[in-house]
Amino acid sequence: MAQAMKPMGASIPRTEDERFLTGRGTFVANMLPRGTVFAKFVRSPYAHARILGIETSRARELPGVLGVFTAADLKGEIGSVFTAWLIPGSNLKTPPYIPLAKDVVRYAGEAVAVVVAEDPLVAEDARDLVDVQYDPLPVVVNQETAMKEGAPQLHAEAPKNVAFHWVNAGVGDVEAAFKGADVVVSQRFVNQRLQPSAMEPRAALAQYEPGTKELTLFVTSQNPHVHRLVLSLILGVPEQRLRVIAPDVGGGFGSKIPVYPWEAVVCWLAMRLDRPVKWVEDRTENFLATIHGRDQVQYVDLAANKDGTILGIRIKVIANMGAYLSTAGPGIPTILFGFMPGGCYAIKAGKVEVTGVFTNTTPVDAYRGAGRPEAAFIIERMVDILARNLKLDPADIRRKNFIPADKFPYQTALGLVYDSGNYEGAMRKALDIVGYEKLRVEQAQARKEGRLMGIGLSTYVEVCGLAPSPIATATGFQGGLWGSSTVRIHPTGKVTLYTGAHPHGQGEETTFAQIASTELGIPVADIDVVHGDTKVTPMGMGTYGSRSTPVEGGSVALSARKIRDKARKIAAHLLEVSEDDLEFSDGKFTVKGVPGKAKTIQEIAWAAYMATSLPKGMEPVLDATTFYDPANFVFPFGTHVCVVDVDKETGHVSIRRYVAVDDVGNQINPMIVEGQVHGGVLQGLAQAMMEQAVYDENGNLLTSNFLEYLVPSSLEAPMIETASTVTPSPHNPIGVKGVGETGTIASSEAYVNAVVDALAPHGPVHIDMPLTSEKVWRAIHGKAG
């Protein structure tokens, strides 16, 4: 394509779109190799029960059934799935999570048997013929109840169901901060459990090649190399003979990070039966057995001076981990949460204490934002509560406490070093766009007239770009967290770019080509991005934690620069000048002052391939790989403003305006950045407005399909106005930060702040999410729920 403008910073349409728009996406469920057979899992209807016996004979006798397998068949064949985040100093308990339950089931949806048949419908018939006898046990679903004396116990090794206890004591003296304070405000928050609800349910298809002894797994994964490593360990298949391919994946939002036990079972079945074995979840299975997110009960104290200066924050969290620890489970309410509740404020001291608790519920792991929405919600709500207490304007109190733009890098009281920021700049822009002063005037008038309108601010900062390895491993993560890429220039000058990221909606097939194109002057259309296949891409850590662009994309820039440096040497050699005599632009090395004397990058690629005449000692071809371990995280920030009107009679909330000003550093493709913000904002609003996973007291998930678990449709979704400021990350090779989670991290509290503000001054200081019309109506009318 024509390079009218620098590819970096251009809103070019996505390369990946055409295949989805024409129905040619390669989702796992679309694959059907010859001879495929179909697996279905028998799942427990009880949340806690002893398994007395499993009668499989009727299922086995059904024509077309190849086998029915239980824990007894897997003994010694497949190891337990383990958590990969072993939080140090937390007395972490890691009870085994075996692929098919043996003696006891601990949540409704836990698998107890698997059937395989020639036809998917026959597999379903056979699944329903497996007769499991259960002896129900007492159930506990709430984390605070689970810690009480006499509560049902899930695991013998975890007394009072405590999975871990973790403290971040921060770097300041928090008790002194509270002693010296004029005012302390306290609040309990319930950050409710959510169901990630990627539109594509999970799927796995395994194939074994007896000749080469290679096992190939197609799986809905955000991190195929992590899947390969973990599955290799628990299956005993050598890592080099296990090929994991995550093709097109229909959304993840964290739920496709974990390695699920049943993916291992599908692999084992393929080897055992010597047939391709395919398993596709239905939606109810997805809601029962794919991880859930959030689910924290938070007790928060904030200390301040009368003038609104915040002095300290003290937080106790009880986090529901579900029945077992999922892959990254323990890291979410600790490492990804517990360093961020100070937000963008110059708070001198803080302390965060987190207790993880087992309950008879689906395991909890990363859901979009993963710990950081829970942290941002706390501080942004507490600042509003403090402002109300001191009768200060929410914007003024924020401005007073912001970390000043000239204080970066900034060491926070909770122990991180924020890379760069200009919080006041982003807030100023958002307030200008929304017309804040005018809205406050209008609100004063509305209050006089008895109308309810509210303005909610969220001035968030988040930590993302998950890396650096030394920090990740010091916090107990069982893996390096770096980025990887190979940039391979073919003899014709066309490029294949291999990445360790796993795009599944974020658009890196386009943006990574833009990065390489910017560095090399090769058109975007000549650069194909390859991802998701462990046999061809360098070891890579995948896509989550808004890490792809800063970490994996940083690696792409570094690989491309290695190639550019090598190409410069070759150009100098071919043109018989010194490297210093060359200038590089638009993919061409030109001898300074001699416009006709030049070599294009394509000409150099050919010369590097022919290797007829290369500088002495230089290896042929242009091909570079980089494993990039960043110096620090990146810290995107911004201000979101939500303006609502509340119907007094019904409690119905209408969003009048939603303005998002985000600073994600340099932008590669602003159109994609905006799209990420839109989607992120709606997921955060969904938590604030309507979503909630609900269990009854017996541990039945009442929200087990889209009829009960309400994700927003186009009718509930507001128009979202976006804008940005640009404060590059100083340590990132291309000055970028992450954008995948910002919207979700910012928006829930903007909405709740707006609704609580609408109900003020007489309404409650807080309403727990989701703010259904009923809850809002009760808050208006002073009727307890």
Partner: protein, 174 residues
């Protein structure tokens, strides 16, 4: 758990009856024998191997399985294949005529109306019915028309923009 009688019948190996159906999909005529219980979406995906039509739920809520049937956008997970006997169906694979993208497809690409792409075929087909009956829909009309199709990625903002831009394009307004 299924009722004892049905389970017993299955255990004996009785298979559901098969029926001959004839229908047109993307302009091509098919005649097939299908089990009575096979859903239209599974017939389209597994028998015809047209996998652009996706499955996102089993309760008609998500709309990933939307196809055009006799000119109407319907959810193919909520219909048996035998009920589609004698109908004309268009799936996402049939929308681009003669290798040229439909204006909706062009417009979704230009306006970043998709991310992971899983809901996209259904949304595009739901929108195509709208644009057939309403040449210049308002944003609210677009939102209503696609409200049976869930998208978890885009926040719908760019979907609405894409449909609106496609309407303009089809009406020659730009």
């Amino acid at each position: 758990m299924m009722a004892g009688e049905a389970a017993g019948r299955m255990a004996k190996g009785d298979r559901m009856a098969r029926h001959r159906i004839a229908l047109s999909v993307n302009g091509k005529r098919y005649e097939r024998d299908v089990e009575a219980r096979v859903l239209l979406v599974d017939f389209i995906r597994d028998d015809l191997r047209l996998t652009g039509t996706n499955v996102g739920c089993d309760t008609s809520h998500c709309g990933a399985c939307t196809v055009m049937l006799d000119g109407h956008a319907i959810k193919s997970c909520t219909m048996f294949a035998v009920q589609a006997d004698g109908t004309e169906i268009t799936t996402i694979e049939g929308l681009a005529a003669h290798g040229r993208l439909h204006p909706l497809q062009e417009s979704f690409r230009e306006n970043h109306g998709l991310q992971c792409g899983y809901c996209t075929p259904g949304i595009v087909l739901a929108a195509s019915e709208l644009l057939h009956v309403n040449k210049s829909p308002t944003d609210d009309e677009i939102r209503t028309a696609i409200s049976g199709n869930l998208c978890r990625c885009t926040g719908y903002v760019n979907i609405v923009k894409s449909v609106s831009a496609a309407a303009d394009r089809m009406a020659g307004r730009r």
